[in-house]
């Protein structure tokens, strides 16, 4: 097992013929992911790099290839529409890599997919990888190895950094999910935690949070309500000045709740082990595994 994606994932890529889409599709295929279709309106009937059939619409692609998940590289102004199209065709999970999507577009998108019970991951995220089984995203494969630790992260490169530290120390991962750095997320930290809670293969979870919002506090609440697996957390941004956006749209301290220290306090209160710097994550995991 693992969560969201595995060896049975039949991946469709929206925006497959674009620069980023092409580059990362190659990476997914090289990893062994079963990429069954691509969608680029106007390029239906062609083949991407002589390998993957391209369709004009998602519904047609699903009908012909039985795709069951989507990875989206569509530019921000059109990204919300791409999610609606994938959701309407019944794909789940939908993994949205695109950055800079307007917040209100995401408000409408999230509410729509929730109603349909579809898993949406992102936006502004590196995607999802179940090491050794399937990669649907832009992450560096070498950082990851198969195992029993679930990783949930709001940051891309920090996911690679921490996962590589785990891999170097022989601690493999069941699934690593980059939930994204935006204020409105398809899958929140607590929703991802619940998925790992139900996954028999996952024995412990690493949370990589950051300043801004209250996702970490919600995660603490869902741990209190019934997460029995051990959790280790690193929260980035203790040193960030208040009121300044630190790169990610969601990473801004507005009021007390957004501060790194508040998040650490909330998580520690429900038994989560707090790493002060990334290299402490594998040390703490070793204590609970």
């Amino acid at each position: 097992m693992s969560i969201l994606i595995d060896e049975n994932t039949r991946l469709l890529i929206q925006g497959i013929t674009g620069g980023e889409g092409s580059f990362y599709t190659r990476g997914c295929i090289d990893y062994g992911t079963n990429v069954v279709a691509g969608v680029t309106p106007g390029k239906g009937g062609t083949k991407w790099e002589d390998k993957v059939p391209v369709f004009n619409t998602v519904s047609r692609a699903v009908k012909e290839t039985k795709a069951n998940a989507s990875l989206i590289f569509v530019p921000a102004p059109f990204a919300a529409d791409a999610v609606f199209e994938a959701a309407e065709a019944g794909l789940s999970p939908i993994i949205l890599i695109t950055e800079f999507i307007p917040t209100f577009d995401m408000v409408k998108v999230r509410s729509y997919v929730k109603e349909k019970n579809i898993h949406l991951v992102g936006p502004n995220c590196p995607g999802v990888i179940s090491p050794g089984k399937c990669k649907a995203g832009i992450m560096i494969a070498e950082a990851f190895s198969r195992g029993n630790v679930g990783v949930i992260s709001r940051s891309g490169t920090l996911t690679y950094e921490v996962s590589a530290m785990l891999t170097e120390q022989g601690i493999g991962q069941s699934t690593c999910i980059g939930i994204g750095g935006d204020p409105i997320l398809g899958t929140t930290m607590s929703e991802a935690l619940e998925l790992f809670g139900q996954d028999p293969e996952t024995e412990a979870v690493v949370l990589i949070g950051e300043i801004g919002g209250t996702f970490e506090q919600e995660a603490a609440e869902s741990i209190r309500q019934g997460m029995t697996k051990p959790v280790v957390a690193f929260i980035a941004g203790s040193s960030a000045p208040p009121g300044r956006r630190m790169g990610h749209a969601g990473a801004i301290v507005m009021g007390a709740a957004g501060k790194a220290e508040e998040k650490k306090k909330a998580l520690a209160a429900v038994g989560v082990l707090i790493a002060e710097t990334p290299p402490e994550v594998p040390d703490l995991l070793r204590k609970v595994l």
């Binding site: 509410s111 560096i140 960030a240 007390a256």
Partner: protein, 389 residues
């Protein structure tokens, strides 16, 4: 993106929210004329993006046009320091000259996007005139909340009415209050705001409701569909190094008070590097994320910014290359050394895609980098280097 108070009030006015009569002055003479037109007794308000103006002396009253001129002269061209600006302050290039309003009550009205419910949240309170965080801490029961239906982003008339009735207004004030709530919400959604706040929403002694102060922030990601709003941007209000970073095409740069300049790919990793520096007793001079774009110029541009910051005593480059391949980053480093004189030590840790090729490029160039292999080692080395005399 932030805008000035006078710009916010003009937008509010378009959406049917009453605001005091006023004019914008860029010279003392203009201030005098506006004050005369408004009957002499006015408030002169420095137009800056940071909060805390009142306490910093940026809001002053004048009882005659001549006094308004004098007050404007003292504010215009000065730099105002508030608790939000840092020691260098921000320049005052315009003042808002406004009629004085006698307040009987000060209310609060604000709209944000709530990430937990993933939908806009409209808040109102009788305890206005202070910051919402302070109301939340002191009198949380005095905040009334109403969430938008997220599928349609529609805020219904009854919701606006509910908020209005919750503010203990007199019967004849309910309609104008409802209109203000609805108008502010319409502005919030139609212009893709990230924050819309009227604080205080004043009830004047003659029973009118007016937006006495207003703050509008906009979603940067949605500016492409609002050229009118994008045109209100005032780069003067930002740190000059940050403006330079924006024009030099660096993904994200935030100036800080310390002496270790950092160059990192990825926002989360950049924050983690800053935290780790602080954790072992060092001080980061900035947050700098070159992004995940695969371009060596980003590294060169980052070095241009960091070498023009006199407080930087050491530069730490920590790259975990994914899309940003290490060979490209290495090429950027070599190019930076060619283009500029780098007087401070540079500690570099380069991991990830094409790391071996990157090593070759650096070895061949002969540039002097202090190398680190692990995250811990990189941090500790940078802190040691920065503390050298």
């Amino acid at each position: 993106m932030k805008i000035h108070e006078y710009q916010a009030k003009s937008l509010l006015s378009e959406y049917g929210v009453p605001v005091p009569k006023s004019g914008v002055a860029r010279t003392p003479a203009e201030a005098k004329k506006i004050a005369a037109d408004l009957g002499g007794k006015v408030v002169v308000k420095a137009q800056i993006h940071a909060g805390g103006r009142g306490k910093a002396g940026g809001i002053k009253t004048a009882t005659s046009p001549a006094e308004a001129e004098k007050v404007a002269a003292s504010l215009l061209g000065s730099r105002l320091r508030t608790h939000q600006t840092g020691a260098e302050g921000v320049p005052v290039s315009a003042v808002l000259v406004e009629e004085t309003i006698e307040s009987a009550r000060e209310l609060y009205l604000g709209i944000v996007v709530d990430s937990t419910r993933a939908t806009p949240l409209v808040m109102a309170s009788e305890a206005g005139g202070i910051e919402i965080e302070e109301i939340a801490a002191k009198a949380p029961e005095k905040i009334i909340r109403s969430y938008t239906e997220s599928r349609t982003l529609e805020f219904r008339a009854f919701q606006a009415r509910e908020l209005a009735f919750g503010l203990n207004l007199s019967p004849e004030q309910i309609r104008p209050a409802t209109q203000i709530v609805s108008g502010l919400y319409r502005l919030f959604v139609e212009k893709d705001c990230s924050l819309a706040e009227i604080n205080p929403l004043t009830v004047s002694t003659d029973s009118r409701l007016l937006a006495l102060d207003a703050k509008l922030n906009f979603d940067d990601n949605a500016l492409y569909r609002h050229p009118d709003i994008a045109g209100l941007h005032d780069p003067e209000q930002e740190n000059p190094l940050e403006v330079k970073a924006e024009s030099e095409d660096i993904a994200n740069y935030v100036k800080m008070e310390g002496d270790i300049g950092i160059v990192v790919n990825g926002a989360g990793l950049a924050m983690a590097v800053m935290d780790a520096i602080k954790h072992v007793g060092g001080k980061p001079a900035n947050f700098l994320d070159i992004g995940t774009v695969n371009r060596s110029e980003r590294v060169v541009n980052a070095f241009k910014i960091l070498t023009s910051d006199p407080s930087v005593k050491c530069i730490l480059v920590n790259i975990f290359g994914g899309m940003a391949r290490v060979d490209v980053i290495a090429t950027g480093l070599v190019e930076a050394y060619k283009q500029m004189e780098i007087k401070v030590p540079v500690v570099a840790r380069l991991k990830g895609t094409n790391a071996a090729e990157g090593e070759q490029i650096i070895a061949k160039s002969g540039i002097k980098l202090i190398r680190a292999d692990t995250f811990r080692e990189a941090i500790e080395t940078a802190v040691t280097e920065a503390s050298r005399k």
